[in-house]
Each structure stands twice: as C-alpha cells, then as structure tokens.
C-alpha cells in the first residue's frame, strides 16, 4: 500500500515538474524577446502598448485590463504605458513601475514564483490526480484480470 502511494506521489510530482518547466521558461524568455523589440514606429509602439496594457489591471474595474477598460483612469494609465515605452523603457520596466505604485495586484497574471506558483501548479496536479483516478478505475472495471494483478 505504502509504495503505491509514494509511486503516485512521484508521478504527480513529475507531472507537475514537467508542466511547470514551460511556464518558467516562458516567463524568462518574454522580457528578453520584448526588450529586443524596441518600438521603431507608431504601429509597433501601439502594438507593444496594447501588449503591456492588457497585462495591467484597471484599478476601478472588476477584472478588466487597462487595455480593455473604457474608464478615464485606465485611459490615462495606458497613455503612461505608451509614453514610457516610447521613452525606451522595456515592457518589464513599465510593468515594474506599475507594480511599485500599485503593488503586484496590478498584474492580471501573477508572477510565477513563491506562493503564486500554486496558481500554475495546482490545476496541473488536479488534472494529473484525476487522470490517475480514471486510469485506475478503468483498470479495475475492465476486470480484476491476471494482467492487472501482474501490473500491481
């Protein structure tokens, strides 16, 4: 019984690790990719502004980004994003500015570190757990056959 549980735990931990890897890799690659793309023209600046603004929470709305919110404050904040990008700040620097003013709460997606990792890992763990339960149930239903005995 005990070895089975530890095997299950190992499987879950492995699944979690595999799933976490791309998240972490993505988080690291984004700022580099973005800072290389310093805005050259208006269209590019606008695109970059939208990309950054859609990651920042509108403080006077419920769950809207400053890109999507029509409120005055969101519009002004978006203008600040655009100004700072035009002045040569990287998207990460612009986001850091807003975090320093409003706290991490201003980011619509929490940074994947510390306790925040739970947000990224728990769904994966739940999925893996569910899959394990299904696989085991199916095996049990398809008959306590000799094959199943051999497997366990």
């Amino acid at each position: 019984m005990t070895p089975r549980i530890s095997r299950l735990a190992m499987a879950l931990a492995f699944a979690g690790g595999v799933a976490a890897a791309p998240v972490a890799a993505e988080a690291r690659s984004t700022p580099q990719a973005a800072s290389q793309a310093a805005p050259q023209d208006d269209a590019e600046l606008e695109k970059l502004t939208s990309a950054v603004a859609s990651q920042l929470r509108c403080p006077v709305c419920q769950g809207l980004s400053i890109e999507d919110s029509p409120t005055e404050l969101a519009r002004d904040m978006r203008a600040v994003v655009r100004e700072q990008l035009a002045a040569g700040k990287s998207p990460e620097e612009v986001k850091a500015y807003f975090v320093s003013k409003y706290g991490e709460w201003i980011l619509l997606e929490p940074e994947p570190r510390g306790l925040n990792l739970a947000v990224y890992l728990l769904p994966v763990l739940a999925l893996a757990g569910g899959a394990t339960v299904i696989v085991r149930s199916v095996r049990r239903w398809t008959g306590a056959s000799a094959a199943d005995h051999a497997d366990s």
């Binding site: 019984m1 002004d76 600040v80």
Partner: protein, 187 residues
C-alpha cells in the same frame, strides 16, 4: 472505504479547505497601498486659479516643501465622499498651519470651473489645489480613485496612504508623530 481512500480524501480536502478559508479572510477589493515607505514622487503642478479666466500659474513642486510634513488630498467635485471629508481636512489644515504641515489638494479628472465652484460652496479655498493633467501625478501615487490622501514626512518619504475618507482623528494620529521626527540633512 479503506484506510488509503480516507487518507487520499483527507490529503485532497484539507489543502482545498485551507485555501478557501484563507481566501475568505480577505476582501479581494481591499488592496493595501504599495506606496508607503517609498520616496514620494516629486511633481511640478500648476495651482488651480480661483478667479475665472485667470491662467493657471505658480508651479508648485513637492520638493519645495522638503523639511515639512505634506498632506496630499486627491479629490474631485463629482466625488460625493470628498464632500464628507473636506471640512475635516480644512480643520486640520488650519490647526497645523503654523506647525509645519502643508496641505495640498490635487484635482482628479475634473473641470476647473466645477472644482472652483465646489470649493466656493465648501467655504472657500483653504489650501491650494493643483491641476494634474493626464492624471500623471495621481498614477505616480498609485491612485485608484477619489478621495485618497497621502502623508509625506519631513524627509520626503510617503508614510501613510488612505484610500477613502479621512477624518480629523486619523489625520492628527498620522501627522503628530511625523512632526516629532527630525529632518535628516544630507545628500
């Protein structure tokens, strides 16, 4: 139900309940302000003229008040709670004027004519109100709405921020200990 099922059920349920209870303890709409403890962002803003037709003049800089305790109040004439707190701000401003406390209003998202009429209705301008075009200064102070009040110590560090109405008691409680502080003279 064997022992293992019970164990798994507990392992799954307990963390979920714990996370749920943790989430219940806090109101997601209340966000602690991030700005206290940080150096107050400097600004250079025009003072709102109180005579119609007069051009905004007298650029006011926060750095001009280094060595004093500064109370910044973000307000608007359309903001109903601002009406409630304004008399309290005025009273404390009068009380502490000679003790090195500077009060400054910063207008948020409003028409100058409306703001001026509002101030007159509220008994006249007790302390200057500054104009913040594009809300740049408000965003620099992490503004989420009006009213909000920020208190800055003698050394230019934000020591207090209130999202919502302030009253006399609150202002006195925050300002008094800052008056006891000495200014650190240096670079």
């Amino acid at each position: 139900m064997n022992l293992r099922s019970v164990l798994i059920a507990i392992l799954v349920t307990v963390p979920l309940v714990a996370v749920f209870l943790y989430g219940m303890r806090s109101d997601p709409r209340i966000v602690p302000p991030a700005i206290p403890g940080q150096p107050a962002p400097d600004f250079a803003l025009a003072r709102m003229p109180m005579t119609p037709g007069e051009e905004p003049s007298d650029t006011v800089r926060l750095s001009d008040y280094r060595g004093k305790v500064v109370v910044l109040n973000f307000w608007a004439s359309w903001c109903v709670p601002c009406r409630v707190e304004h008399p309290e701000l005025v009273a404390v401003a009068r009380e502490y004027r000679d003790r090195g406390v500077v009060f400054l209003g910063i207008l948020y998202n409003d028409q100058v004519s409306n703001a001026r009429a509002w101030l007159e209705e509220m008994g006249g301008e007790e302390y200057p109100t500054l104009l913040d075009p594009g809300t740049r200064t408000a965003i620099d102070y992490g503004l989420t709405g009006v009213p909000e009040t920020v208190i800055i110590d003698r050394n230019g560090i934000v020591r207090f921020k209130r999202i919502g109405i302030v009253n006399r008691e609150m202002l006195v409680r925050e300002v008094e200990p800052l008056l006891a502080d000495q200014e650190v003279v240096g670079p």
